[in-house]
Every structure is written in C-alpha cells, then in structure tokens.
C-alpha cells in the first residue's frame, strides 16, 4: 500500500463542488496534506488540462479514470467518488474499524451516490451534454416525481438508518464514530437544501436525526474551517445541485 504520508492529489473540475466535494470533505476533515490539482495555475501543472491528461492516456499500473473526481496517491490513480472517499477515509481514520462495518459504510456511501446521480438528472434528464434550456420540459416532469416521491424515499431511508443505528450503537451512520458516510450525508443535505429549498424543508421536517447529524458535521472544527474558507466553492448553476425555482416542487 502507498505510504499514508504521501500527498494526495485530487483531480476534479475547479469551478464546482460537484462530486469532488465529497472527496474534499474527507481530505479536509482528516486534516490531510492534499493538492487540488486543477485549482493550481497551469504554469504549475494545474488547470483543466491536468484533469483530462490522466484520463486520455494509458497509466502504467492500472485503468485510467473514466471521469473525475479521481486521486493520485503514490502509485495509485483511483476514480469513482464513493471508492475514493472510502480509500482516503480508510487511510485517515474516517472509516469504521471492522471489516463488516466497512462494507456497510460502503453500501451507504454508494446509496448516497445513487441519490446524487438522481438529483443531478433532475436538471439533465435527457443528457448532460445538452443545455438545461433544451431539456427544461422533461426536467420539470422529472423534478415533479423526484421532489414528491424520490426525495422522501432517499432521506426517509437515511433517517431510518440513523434511527436503527442509534438504538444500539451511536448517533452516526455506522457503528459509533464519525465516518466519511456522515460527511457525505452532510454534503447531500447541504446540496439538496440549496437546490430544492421548498421540497427540502417539507421532507426534512420528518428527518430530525438527519438534520441533527448534518449540523454536527458542519460544526466539526476542520469542516467548519473549510466551509468558511475560500477553498469551499459556493454552490452555483454549473454543479450537480442547482437552484432552478421551477424544479422545486413543480
């Protein structure tokens, strides 16, 4: 395995939170030394070209990434958001301790990733390669089902998971200590609140544990420092979580 003291290089689009934000939160909360490569100037090997370069050619030791975010750490180049979060977290004390609990954390993280993908497709139901304005009608239809059915299905599920776990183990997603899954739940909640404020307020009225968990994560010292810093890119209309008023409970 690579040395845990090796610097992590994160490769992701430099102008959005997007899926990269789930990785950034793990790196930040762990207090790890990392470089957000694309946010460096091109003269120092940064910019978009740095993200694209490793995707467009063979790598010496394994498969190239299909899409960002990905990290480079020692000899490893690793893509897929949930997997990258798990990898960093397991090296940084932000994963559960036992092998079975690590699998359970991975299950939850992948379910969060599914929720993120469904949320993205609200505004791009036809294709990510077309403009929003060219798929606005389909987007409204998708948003209607998402805000009235799927949102409560996802958040209700995570609420039940927290409730079940609190019964015997702790006030976190898995076992009894904060993991990358809790960080991801915070980010999911933050994104949904930004993108769908009306639907979010209605649905989360019934998910007090999830709201409490998100608040606790936001107050973790390194997370709070990160959120207040310039490293936290504001939500905007290019990311996964976008605020289009016509999609919020149409």
């Amino acid at each position: 395995m690579p040395e845990t003291t090796t610097t992590y290089e994160l490769y992701y689009w430099p102008f959005i939170q997007g899926r990269g934000e789930f990785v950034r939160l793990v790196l930040e909360d762990a207090g790890l030394d990392y470089v957000d490569v694309a946010r460096l100037p091109e003269s120092r090997g940064g910019g978009l070209q740095a993200v694209l370069a490793l995707m467009n050619g063979p790598l010496p030791n394994g498969p190239r990434p299909f899409a960002p975010p990905y990290v480079r750490h020692g000899n490893l180049v690793l893509a897929q958001t949930a997997l990258v979060c798990r990898y960093v977290a397991e090296h940084a004390g932000l994963a559960p301790e036992g092998a079975l609990d690590r699998l359970r954390a991975d299950q939850l993280m992948l379910t969060i990733a599914d929720g993120v993908a469904e949320t993205h497709d609200i505004h791009h139901p036809i294709s990510a390669s077309l403009y929003y304005d060219d798929q606005r009608d389909a987007a409204k239809r998708r948003a209607e089902v998402f805000t009235h059915e799927r949102l409560a299905r996802f958040l209700g599920y995570f609420e039940a998971v927290l409730e079940d776990n609190a019964r015997g183990r702790g006030e976190v997603a898995i076992a009894d200590r904060t993991s990358y899954v809790d960080l991801a739940l915070f980010q999911l909640m933050a994104g949904l609140e930004y993108a769908l404020p009306k639907a979010f307020a209605r649905v989360t009225a019934a998910t007090p544990r999830l709201r409490a968990l998100a608040a606790v994560v936001a107050e973790r010292p390194r997370v709070a420092a990160y959120l207040a810093s310039e490293r936290r890119i504001p939500f905007n209309a290019q990311g996964i979580f976008r605020y289009y008023p016509e999609l919020d409970e149409p």
Copy 2:
C-alpha cells in the same frame, strides 16, 4: 468475517435479470452454494415478500438495504450491486489478488454500474415509477444521445482499459486473471446487444478486445452451463436492458 462456507442468499426480483444478474454471474462462475430467495415459493420463504421484508425493518447489525439486489451471508446483509459482486468475488477467488488491484477492479465495476444506470434511464428518463409509454418522447431524445455519444464513450473506455492492460499484464480487465469485472463486462455487452442491436453492432465494430473478452467469458464452463440453464431468466421488457426498436439509434 463470515465463513466462506456459509450459504449465500441472494435477494432480487425473480422475474428479471436486472442488476441481480451481475451477482448471479459471480455466484455461478464461482460454483458457490447459493439460494435465489425470491425464486423459491412463498411457502418456503420465497417470493417478492422475502425481498421486501428485509428492506422494511431494522436489521440487528447494520443498515437495511435501500434496494435489491442484496445478499445475506452469515451476519452480513449487504446491498449495492457493485459492492455485493466485490464481496462475493473476494471470497471466491474471482477478485484480483493485491490490495491496489482490488481497488482498481472496484473502480471499473462502479464504472460499469454507471453505464448500466445510464442504459436503464434510456427507457425511463423521467421516472422509474411511470410507464414507458408515458415518457416515450423523452426516452427517444435520451436514446438518441446515448446511442450516438455515450455508448461509444463507455465501450471505448473499456476497450482502452483492456488494451492498456494487455500491454503489460493480461487479456482481462485487471491484472492477469479473470475477475468479477470481466463477468460484469460480459453481462453489460450481452444486455446492450439485446437492447440496442443496431447501435451495439456499429459501436463494437471498434471494440474487438471487448467482444473477444465477452466471448471468452461466455465459454467459461460454469458460465456456459448457467446461460444454458433455466436459472438464466431471458431478457424481457421489464428489465434494465429492454428492446424498444424506436430507441435503437433514433
């Protein structure tokens, strides 16, 4: 960890291949003793109710599944297709040997899962809870982009991965022996060929390694026996891969 001799119980919809098929292929190729629970009669604890029961109540040791497929193995109930495949494969000699190669396999498997999700949404771009006929126009638009852009992007990616790996390691996805990733690539190819025969023929004319790999997997003795058995549910119009002629290169 659970004993590897414990019987695996697979929970998935009994009338489609769907995402469960990726798990079935690992279980079958490994020659493992498993029960496809929902295909048992209700009098023996099978049927749809068996799938729903574990999703709708708390579990003693960890989070409930959000959706099938999931497996029960000893004390573990584990959901998320890619994760379940990895778990079974790592117990059954169908995963790469080294820790880094296991991460790389996971990365590819999650990318396959992304491709499967995009393929599903061709026919259900608005919502899985609406009928196809109620989202046919959006489906045609999505299929147009998928068949003319995304299909070649995904399959071209996996072709490049095979080419890169063949240069130094082997004629498989990762390292030098068959893994669950190769089984999944076979299933992805089989499903795409069924659902989008015209687009598939055109795009795979440029992916000879992927075609060769799929053919090799189909001839593995246990896979071939499975595919010829009644356990292999035929593709149909309820699964992920559906043949609607109007969606094949509209």
